[in-house]
Symmetry: C2
């Protein structure tokens, strides 16, 4: 079985950076945007819409592709289609080779694959700072707006997760390692994290 790392993360916590750097260090393939792109091709829906399903939530007044979405809490036809295809794509990726998958509920989809599941989080102040650094100089972003956006994206990720699984998003028991990035410099802890992960997979190899 291939070695698969899934990264779930709060918005602005640097989970994507951890995933990318770990993939580079371990020589694993990195998947993030690629899944959304493949989903768009497979479903005929736009990449933005697919991203929005998990990050912006679906509301009663939302119209997309001529379809009306009812109240949030049940999967609608487009969402169901996206989730079914997403499962196929994520499983196919896991079967291709060693990889790091960021987001898309991969920890839930791959629960029978013995993936190593990481959750990345941080306090609000450092998430806001990280978002500000990533924003272009042209953008004028108020801290309060950023905070609101961070809370909203995470709320929607949590809601979306509850639609596709009965495992709670962000609950530490559902992950192998939970990393608070508030007081670390991500690039400096990658070597130690990669070593930790190597030992994790060495142990699971032994147990087979």
């Amino acid at each position: 079985m291939n070695k698969v790392i899934t990264i779930s993360r709060e918005f602005g916590s640097g989970g994507r950076e951890i995933g990318k750097r770990l993939a580079d260090e371990l020589g694993f393939t990195y998947y993030d945007r690629e899944i959304v792109e493949e989903l768009a091709v497979a479903t005929g829906l736009s990449e933005r819409y697919i991203q929005d399903i998990s990050e912006k939530g679906i509301y009663p007044h939302s119209f997309q592709f001529g379809k009306t979405f009812s109240t949030f809490g049940v999967l609608q036809s487009n969402q169901t289609e996206v989730f079914v295809k997403q499962q196929e794509i994520v499983k196919k990726i896991a079967e291709k080779g060693d990889c790091v998958i960021v987001g898309r509920g991969a920890n839930v989809i791959l629960k029978d694959y013995k993936s190593m599941n990481i959750f990345v989080y941080a306090d609000m102040k450092s998430k806001v700072n990280r978002c500000k650094i990533k924003a272009t100089n042209c953008e004028e972003i108020q801290e309060k707006e950023l905070e609101k956006k961070i809370r909203q994206v995470d709320k929607n990720r949590k809601n979306y997760h509850s639609l596709i699984s009965n495992l709670e998003w962000g609950k530490k028991e559902n992950y192998d390692l939970c990393i608070n990035t508030s007081n670390i410099e991500i690039k400096d802890v990658i070597l130690s994290l990669a070593d930790y992960i190597r030992e994790y997979f060495r142990r699971t190899e032994v147990e087979k």
Copy 2:
């Protein structure tokens, strides 16, 4: 400021082993039983009683040293005394030198010390297995009994924590790193954890 690591842990998750091994690897002083011993001397209470306050809970019918304890939810005089002394002892330890402190709410007591706070947890199956391995051969322990004990100790630790702090015990946001030991061999991840911790403290040194 000295480098202080606090380890909070679920019963049977191996938190104490992680603390001891990290202290050895990093050359830090290790504190666990020593705090209870010192507390017993400072308060005149028995070591067992001090341990019981946080791990067995205090119930209405409990009698100890001629005092009656009322319902759980408020600190009683003995408990208050233990907690006040505990604060003093833990702070004194933190001021002595680099150290690892297991339990005793040290993460709460040292919140102004920039301690690195770790929470160690595991699934029930692996906690039961760990407890069984640690038990002597003479002991006949039923798995169901062990599960009950594990849940009870953790419930009491959580309750005790809520008496001394408004930070929730075991909530990942209150820790820098949360380690699930269900699928790792503790001794094999110590070097990588120690490296992670060295980077953590290097960063906090730089920020001073």
